[in-house]
């Protein structure tokens, strides 16, 4: 029985057994027509497909459905390939656990929120809070992203999340960042200049690489600019290399320009504000 009015996510949700007409199976590839599916219905179907043995899921006509990939946590660690045609909704790949998502189009806010592992490739632009609290895996955005990208990204040992942005970002990129790697390539910048402010405010771990012009006043006071070293170029070669491959750019062209490397000045930015 449907409860009225109160729940925008669950009201009107149909049961799995009446949704079968939306799925087509072809061996281990499932294709879902998402056109009029609600968030939960689509994710119910995706989970069903994965449990039925699908290892690749193609989603057609996606119109803002949220949490794509989130419900695919299986203790057995099955890895899926998900292709999205259309525009996925907020929290695409939130808590993602090792799957690979390719979006043929733009994505909205919260891509890879608290993502644990896997890869998200967006052949378009991303919204706000991309890669918030991301903990592992890689996200590639072909164009630009909105505000507050990579907030509180963190790393542990060899679990280092990576976010590559082809264009630029808005303010507060890498705020509170505690680890991980952010690469902003600045492709197609007007006058070659980034416009974001407060980059790396409160940052206390990780690295941000910026290609394109950036002025000191655009940075948070907790970050400093340091010289690029050999291992930085190796990191860039690997991740920008994949970026070029995914989106058809020339790696040498992208790496021929100057990069600004930002790191936090302290692992403890707020260690000295207290009286004991």
């Amino acid at each position: 029985m449907i409860e009225k009015g109160i729940d925008s996510y669950l009201s009107g949700v149909r049961r799995l057994n009446v949704l079968m007409e939306y799925v087509k199976f072809n061996q281990n590839v499932a294709e879902i027509n998402a056109s009029d599916l609600r968030h939960k219905e689509l994710n119910d179907l995706m989970r069903f497909c994965a449990m039925k043995g699908a290892r690749k899921i193609i989603l057609r006509n996606v119109y803002g459905q949220r949490y794509i990939g989130t419900r695919l946590y299986f203790p057995k660690n099955i890895k899926l390939e998900i292709e999205i045609y259309g525009t996925p909704g907020n929290d695409l790949g939130a808590f993602l656990n090792g799957h690979r998502i390719v979006v043929h189009g733009n994505a909205q806010d919260g891509i890879g929120n608290t993502m644990n592992d896997g890869e998200i490739i967006v052949k378009g632009r991303g919204g706000d809070v991309v890669a918030m609290a991301m903990r592992g895996g890689r996200i590639f955005i072909r164009d630009s992203v909105g505000y507050r990208a990579a907030i509180h990204m963190k790393e542990y040992m060899d679990k280092i999340p990576v976010l590559v942005i082809g264009g630029t970002s808005q303010d507060f990129l890498g705020e509170y960042m505690a680890g991980g790697i952010v690469i902003v390539l600045g492709i197609g910048l007007k006058n070659g200049k980034h416009k974001a402010h407060y980059i790396g405010t409160g940052m206390h771990g990780g690295i941000i690489y910026l290609r394109g012009k950036i002025e000191k006043y655009q940075l948070g006071k907790e970050v400093g600019i340091v010289e690029m070293e050999k291992k930085d170029w190796e990191i860039l070669e690997r991740h920008v290399g994949d970026f070029s491959k995914y989106f058809g750019y020339n790696l040498d062209d992208l790496l021929s320009e100057k990069f600004t490397k930002l790191i936090p000045v302290s692992k403890r930015p707020y260690g000295r504000i207290y009286a004991y």
């Binding site: 808590f95 509180h152 509170y176 409160g202 206390h204 260690g271 504000i273 009286a275």
Partner: protein
């Protein structure tokens, strides 16, 4: 710079009793005691925090710790505390930190509420001989039940029920992170909750992997702004997930676990490098509105396959009722309200003592609002922040809560003496410290035993009080304000609390 601060305590050693064993030297992590060249025990009482570890562990009962009688000229306005804090800030230029809940003498509404008992007209129940139900179900309840009768004695509920937590007593352990408290304290809480059939809350410092299998089914894991150790496995190993928006001791501000406390094991549990400050930003940056909160609630429901209730914890603040209504409408199954007396491992003192409202009025306001809007069944309310005894539990429930969280009381059961020095990381009782030499002082088995005893004692008392009212199930007391009377309260206070005055 010479410190102008007066020391807080006087430590006196009875030389006739003292056997010079040096136990006090070993016990005090603050360095009050030492031996001079002659082998005599020396006391530097400026370092004493009044935690009483030395007093209790002195085998000769030779120590007395008391407040330093030397103080400033008496002035009810410029109290010793204000003068000391100003001097401390003048010397350091910092924010004054403290631990534990607010100790300020604000009015305590629990102490102005009196419980009812049956006399003549409605017989009281003796809980020792008659069944008494303390079990509570926490989570969303359906608007109505569809029931199908199959034959004479088979009844089936047709309505799809929401996942609920089942606690054998309406007392749960509040969120205290591994990092804020020691591993042994954390483990003791997990053990006690599991043995008693209630729940403990991991706080936001992650959940050590080796404890998950055994204690996961009694764990409520937190997803807070720092998102420490939050991965799908962490979310799915627990009984419920709590989104922490705020905390009674420090509403509106974040948390900093200083780098020196991020040891090897803590770094593994929080999944951040050793020695890095664990910063929990004040807001969750993906939540700037009720709609955003809803997005996270459903993200967590998606990540846990709709199998677990999702709780949202907020500090009790001025518009708490409206906020709670929004939280329920956003899809939360449990709303946790933490009053301004709530404890903390470290909080700016100024925030702890001046921000937020009492839990009693917050419960009453939230319960009334949710009832008025006819959405009270869509969530359970857990009240927390300064629950000191079983009477506080029962009063909180009569005001409208489903259950309570206890934090400070649990720590006191394990040995805490409320010295308010949690933020120093030198807790002599092995509770609020990461120093391995101090942590090993707390034996998790014994601490768990103390916690279980406390739960047992309070539960028995609750049964007695319920029986006295002629009620045989705690759920029948929920929001039953008829069982409360205010005493020494003004009209507006009675109105906010929704209770009558004594004698009415």
């Amino acid at each position: 710079m010479k410190s102008y601060l007066l020391h807080d305590f006087i430590v006196e050693r009875n030389k006739e009793r003292c056997i010079n064993c040096g136990a006090c030297i070993n016990q005090c992590s603050f360095g009050v005691f030492s031996k001079d060249e002659k082998g005599d025990i020396k006391i530097d009482e400026r370092k004493c925090v009044g935690c009483l570890r030395c007093v209790i562990f002195c085998p000769a009962n030779a120590l007395v710790v008391r407040h330093n009688p030397t103080t400033y000229r008496s002035n009810p306005y410029w109290t010793r505390e204000f003068i000391q804090d100003i001097k401390k800030q003048a010397e350091t230029g910092g924010v004054v930190l403290t631990g534990c809940g607010s100790d300020k003498p604000y009015k305590i509404y629990f102490d102005h509420l009196l419980l009812n008992a049956s006399q003549v007209t409605n017989p009281s129940i003796d809980p020792l001989r008659e069944p008494m139900e303390l079990r509570v179900f926490l989570g969303k309840k359906p608007d109505y039940l569809e029931i199908e009768f199959n034959g004479a004695d088979e009844v089936e509920i047709k309505t799809e029920l929401y996942p609920n937590l089942v606690a054998e007593t309406p007392i749960l352990f509040a969120g205290m992170s591994y990092g804020a408290i020691s591993y042994n304290a954390f483990k003791a809480l997990a053990m006690a909750a599991s043995e008693f059939g209630t729940y403990f809350n991991t706080g936001e410092g992650g959940f050590p992997k080796e404890l998950r299998e055994k204690y996961g089914k009694n764990a409520i894991v937190q997803c807070a702004s720092g998102r420490f150790g939050v991965d799908p496995e962490y979310l799915n190993c627990a009984a419920a997930v709590e989104i922490k928006i705020g905390q009674g001791a420090k509403p509106g501000i974040g948390g900093h676990l200083p780098g020196e406390k991020v040891t090897d094991k803590i770094s593994a549990t929080r999944m951040i490098p050793e020695g890095t400050d664990a910063l929990s930003p004040a807001p969750q940056h993906d939540i700037y509105s009720i709609e955003d909160l809803s997005t996270l609630i459903y993200a967590l429901k998606e990540a846990t396959n709709y199998e677990k209730p999702i709780a949202v914890k907020i500090a009790a603040v001025h518009n708490v009722a409206a906020i709670a209504s929004g939280i329920v409408r956003a899809g939360a199954d449990i709303v946790v309200i933490d009053g301004f007396r709530g404890g903390t491992g470290a909080s700016p003192k100024i925030i702890r003592d001046h921000v937020g409202i009492p839990i009693e009025v917050a419960i009453a306001a939230v319960d009334r609002r949710l009832r008025k809007e006819k959405i009270r069944n869509k969530c359970s309310i857990i009240a927390s922040g300064g629950i000191r005894c079983s009477a506080d539990v029962i009063k909180a429930i009569a005001l409208g809560a489903d259950a309570v969280y206890i934090g400070t009381a649990a720590l006191i059961a394990m040995g805490c003496t409320m010295c308010q020095k949690c933020h120093t990381g030198k807790c002599n009782w092995g509770i609020c410290t990461q120093d391995p030499n101090l942590v090993k002082r707390l034996n998790p088995n014994e601490a768990a035993k103390r916690l279980i005893n406390l739960l047992r004692g309070w539960s028995l008392e609750i049964k007695e009080m319920l029986g006295g009212m002629g009620i045989n199930a705690i759920e029948s007391l929920k929001g039953n304000r008829d069982q409360l009377r205010g005493f020494g309260l003004e009209d507006w206070e009675l109105e906010v609390l929704g209770v009558k005055g004594a004698g009415e």
